[in-house]
């Protein structure tokens, strides 16, 4: 069989972006997808930031299957029966949109179609089962009993990447894997706009913290599409395992919470989905390439539940394409020639993103998610209980805000031996502050 320039495994945003990049550089490319169509295996849980997309398809606004303009973003915290909400609504973004909600099944299919228009050979319904090696070097892929030869194999096949595993580039760190389960509910467009106080064609995305997954360090999201509402619940798989929790049961609790329930009233389930995502990426750029192989998208760890996955996926795909073009100029595709990928990545913000995501993930894995219950309670205590104390007209002294904040937000993170002295210090500071405040009030009135 003839040898092609590149085989890209996986037609998600990273793989398709890479294939487009390669085709534009005149490299013969085959894009292979295991699903019945591109996007058939993919699950979105966030907004699509379109900056990188615009670089690839400048007129994407006219043709991409986008649903709503995500100019209404927010954050909420839940505890049993209660909620807290912070919302940001932007007219600027609504009028000059760069953030959207979309279905990955539709978006990815469209985007892979763009690769085809560029001359990429797209094959769907084909699973790459392994890598072809010659003297230890990757020279192509196995598709069942068939073989496909290529100068370079690009692994864009997600967290469960066959390419990354077979080429020895993958290390699983399951403490950083999060399971996301999602329900899409039907609701008429006008009803969505009235329930979420949205302008015409505007979408909202809200990230949730706390109930019903605070004990297992989970998170949640609710966002709107044109005629549907999507809810997602996330949890790290190792805390799920530790507590023997069924996330599916927790999703029922979530839907029954008054904050979520009011949005879903009368809506009908359209589809149920599940997907695993890596939290905090993979830090080692030296493990993104080897002889005849490059990794991009989620296969390279360019995703995090704290970060959206599509734009970094696309950007890593484009960068991989550039790396292959550089290697082609030298006529070599070994690890040394492909290591230019690493240098090229440093011309983007991706290493910084990986670093920040990993740092956040370290904090999250080692500390935050273990204390999420206390932190959630703390937020409610600080905001609600503090206000109740402050409007209590019988107590002449100001509410001990510093102490509230310390007990709920700081103390759980301190090493045990520091807690007593720190608590004493805060108490003394609070006393001094109260005395000072009362002195000022007496002086002023």
């Amino acid at each position: 069989m003839d040898k092609v320039g590149c085989i890209v495994v996986g037609a998600g945003p990273a793989g398709a972006a890479c294939a487009i990049g390669l085709a534009r550089k005149g490299i013969e490319t085959v894009l292979v997808e295991r699903g019945q169509y591109a996007g058939a295996k993919n699950v979105a849980s966030f907004i699509l930031f379109a900056d990188i997309l615009e670089r690839i398809i400048p007129n994407y606004r006219d043709e991409a299957p986008l649903e709503r303009i995500a100019s209404d973003t927010g954050f909420f915290a839940l505890r049993d029966g209660d909620f807290m909400e912070f919302r940001a609504k932007s007219t600027n973004y609504y009028e000059k949109p760069t953030m959207y909600t979309a279905y990955r099944s539709e978006f990815d299919r469209w985007f892979a179609g763009k690769a085809q228009e560029e001359g990429v050979e797209f094959v769907n319904g084909m699973l790459v089962t392994g890598l072809l090696k010659e003297n230890g070097r990757v020279v192509g892929v196995k598709v069942g009993d068939d073989e496909l030869l290529a100068n370079v194999v690009i692994g864009a096949d997600g967290l469960h990447s066959v390419v990354a595993r077979e080429s020895g580039l993958y290390t699983d760190d399951t403490s950083r894997y999060m399971l996301g389960i999602k329900e899409v509910h039907d609701l008429p467009s006008e009803e969505i706009e009235s329930r979420f106080q949205l302008r015409k064609g505007e979408g909202c995305i809200r990230d949730g913290w706390g109930y019903p997954v605070s004990d297992i360090g989970g998170l949640s999201t609710i966002y709107t599409l044109n005629d549907s509402i999507t809810i997602v619940l996330f949890a790290p798989i190792d805390t799920m395992k530790e507590h023997g929790v069924s996330l599916r049961d927790r999703l029922e609790d979530y839907k029954a919470h008054p904050y979520i329930k009011k949005y879903l009233e009368g809506a009908k389930l359209r589809e149920y989905e599940a997907h695993l995502i890596p939290e905090g990426g993979r830090l080692k750029l030296d493990q993104m390439y080897t002889d005849g192989v490059l990794l991009c998208g989620e296969a390279g760890g360019f995703n995090s539940s704290m970060w959206v996955g599509v734009p970094p996926g696309m950007l890593s795909g484009l960068t991989a394409a550039e790396a292959v073009a550089r290697a082609k100029k030298r006529g070599r595709y070994d690890a040394e020639a492909l290591s230019v990928y690493k240098e090229l990545l440093f011309e983007t913000n991706l290493p910084r993103m990986l670093f920040n995501a990993r740092k956040f993930s370290d904090w999250f894995v080692t500390s935050a998610r273990r204390n999420m219950e206390g932190f959630t309670e703390g937020m409610f205590d600080t905001f609600i209980e503090y206000v109740m104390e402050e409007v209590n007209f019988t107590d002449p002294k100001p509410a001990p805000l510093m102490q509230h904040a310390y007990e709920n937000l700081v103390e759980p993170y301190l090493p045990k031996f520091l807690r007593k002295p720190a608590a004493l210090l805060v108490k003394l500071l609070e006393k001094a502050e109260t005395w000072n405040k009362m002195r000022k009030i007496r002086g002023a009135v």
Binding site: R34, G35, Q36, G39, A40, K41, N42, V43, A44, Y103, R104, S105, D108, N124, G125, M126, L127, V143, G144, L159, H160, V162, D172, T174, Y177, L179, I181, E183, V184, S228, I237, M240, K241, G244, V245, S246, L247, R248, D249, E252, L269, R270, E271, Y272, E273, A274, H275, L276
Partner: protein
Amino acid sequence: MYTGKADADEKLAKVKFEIDKEAHITIEKARCLACREKPCIPACPAGNYTWNDEKNELGYNYEGCLECGTCRFICDREAISWSFPRGGFGVVYRWG
């Protein structure tokens, strides 16, 4: 032990599957006998793992697999081997 399965069936009825005759999940059932926690049973978002008391073995249903692959990492005993279904088969998300 977790056995709640009812609501999963209702949810799975809304999902399109292209069912293969070949299973993409295989289980070494002997290994499950020594496993007390059986974390795969509650963890699977599709409720595909159940304990069959009569046969005293782990029952599973690869046809309803949502392909998250959680079971691949959650099993300590390497009893579950999960891989992608063959090309074109498995779950077909229409509203991902």
